[in-house]
Amino acid sequence: MMMEISARRRVTNAVMLSLSGICTLLVIGVLFFILGYLLWEGARSLNLDFFTKLPKPSGETGGGMANAIVGSGKVLLIATLIGVPIGFLAGVFLAEYSGKMFAFTLRYTVDLLNGVPSIVVGIVAYALVVRPMGHFSALAGGVALGIMMIPIAVRTTEEFLRSVPNSMREGAMALGATKAKTIFTVVVPAAISGLLSGMMLNLARVAGETAPLLFTALGNMFWSHGWLQPIATLPVMIYNYALAPDEDLHQQAWAAGFVLLALVLVINITARLIIARGAAGLRR
């Protein structure tokens, strides 16, 4: 009798444990499938024209997405200029100055902002920038993505500044440095590699955002001059081309997806490796 139950238990044990392994394999399998498929489709459709030419008018084949690549760069530049300084400074405040109650409130608010769906941020950027100006623009897209960058910028800054040992602050202050001088010449430099990688991760996260750009940056089949015109971006191009009833455009969407994913993953992996190495260094 005992043996029988024991056998049943052993079988349950083996079955359930292998099932959990199979589930993990399945999830990892999905990742490699995505990478593999995009690599295959994207590499087939990618050529030099993609990087150097403008989109062709509908009906003609060929052309590229040079304007969307530059456009994504411009929108991301605005987003970084908005999101990183505000987030960084607020993070410094959280880590170095803030009292407990205020810190809790700010942290909670930042978490809330982080949870706001990107499409809702798009609506707000529309109401704040597009409507008053009367037209879609690169600036509006940048504002939307900039707002989305703030939460991670705050939390990254706070986290990495907190990981700097207090003895460094005390050392600097003992030498007569003011608090500000301590923070900006001792604490921030000590955390700089983590801060930079965190900001890179942040940028990679918003680089693929599409929803907030749909009705802020809109899109453009031509070059967009300055910062106040509608502008093409890679994610929005992928969206539009994927839904277009044209095989040639689908191929271009794959190529754009490949470029976007490669960009996001390369930044992501680099930043994570730098952070992991920094953490290992601190432990030693």
Binding site: N13, M16, L17, S20, C23, T24, L26, V27, I28, I34, I86, L89, A90, V92, F93, L94, E96, Y97, S98, G99, K100, L106, T109, L112, L113, G115, V116, P117, I119, V120, G122, I123, V124, A127, L128, F136, I150, V154, T178, K179, A180, K181, A204, R205, A207, G208, T210, A211, P235, I238, Y239, A242, L243, H250, A253, W254, L260, L261, L265, N268
Partner: protein, 323 residues
């Protein structure tokens, strides 16, 4: 604490006439600038809520609560009702959870309890990369890979074996609640795995050892001792995933079919809150149309905020108790 000592410092330096010197040294300026940024973020969030609220007033005034319960969405005749979108958002998110939760929890058990730590870290790293893939790329793969696969393999099997259920009846065009739910499940699974794994790891080793010492198998120790201890945090991770699924826009927009209707069949095309905003906002004309879309945005905002807040609370309590 720190800020109050700072303020007294400031007062003292004012009294001593040293403010100018301190300003030149940048000390006060640095404090004020960082404070301004911090307060600025609080104001920004307030502004965000205010903008959503004030811009949705025309709809609130015209339809009131019936906006949320009406299922008629006809911009041409000025009739706006949110129900089909709320329904679509809920159905696709629930479907995503039904698939993603068992898969995610099982994977996190493997990663936390069975895999050697080094191996587990590498696998987790890879899984977290899945979360970094932009949603428009999931949409792209959804349209061109997943939908054809579902049409060729999954739907024939489903209608043959479970076709007596109303949820698997009707014609299948490819784009549907089912496709959207499947794409969403792939998108949220990394969140469940990475949070649940953390929570499982936080359960003290002694509990496992005690169970094993009493003769439990590895699985029994995990299922009857570790999982119940970590359950609050795991539920938190599920809420986190739910919030992501509710707000997810691009991938859903690309595969859900964008048809505002309410049917029991998962094989039928539908619509979601985020998808209708993405699809119709740029072309919406008339203030009532735009304000209805913004009101939908406010509903989505409210839903995700509440669920996120619950998720954070649950995860916080477990990780505190666990350590």
């Amino acid at each position: 604490m720190a800020s109050s000592t700072y303020i007294t410092d400031e007062l003292r330096s004012l009294r001593n006439g040293g403010l100018l010197q301190r300003l030149r040294g940048g000390d006060e300026i640095a404090y004020l600038i960082t404070l301004a940024s911090a307060v600025g973020i609080l104001l920004l969030v307030a502004l965000l809520v205010l903008e959503l609220w004030s811009n949705s007033q025309p709809t609130v005034k015209t339809f009131g609560w019936s906006f949320l319960t009406s299922s008629k969405w006809d911009p041409n005749s000025g009739k706006f009702g949110a129900l089909p979108f709320i329904y679509g958002t809920c159905v696709t998110s629930l479907l995503a959870l039904i698939i993603a939760v068992p898969l995610g929890v099982a994977s996190s058990i493997f990663l936390a309890e069975m895999a050697p730590p080094k191996f587990s870290n590498i696998l987790t790293f890879l899984i977290e990369l899945l979360a970094a893939v932009p949603s428009v790329i999931y949409g792209l793969l959804g349209i061109f890979i997943l939908v054809p696969l579902i049409r060729a393999y999954l739907v024939p099997v489903l209608t043959k074996t479970l076709g007596f259920l109303p949820i698997f009846q009707g014609d299948f065009y490819g784009v549907s609640f089912l496709s959207a739910g499947l794409v969403l499940s792939v998108m949220v699974v990394p969140f469940i795995i990475s949070v649940s794994r953390e929570v499982l790891i936080a359960v003290p080793v002694e509990q496992r050892e005690a169970a094993l010492a009493l003769g439990a198998t590895k699985w029994e120790a995990t299922w009857q001792i570790v999982i119940p201890n970590a359950s609050t945090g795991i539920i938190g991770s599920v809420f986190l995933a739910l919030a992501r699924a509710l707000g997810e826009t691009m991938a859903v927009t690309m595969v859900i079919g964008n048809t505002p209707k309410i049917t029991a069949s998962l094989l039928s095309p539908g619509y979601s809150i985020a998808a209708v905003i993405a699809n119709e906002f740029a072309e919406a004309s008339g203030s009532l149309y735009i304000s209805s879309l913004i009101f939908l945005g406010l509903v989505l905002f409210g839903l995700t905020i509440v669920i996120n807040a619950m998720a954070r609370l649950l995860i916080l309590t477990t990780s505190r108790r666990g350590v």
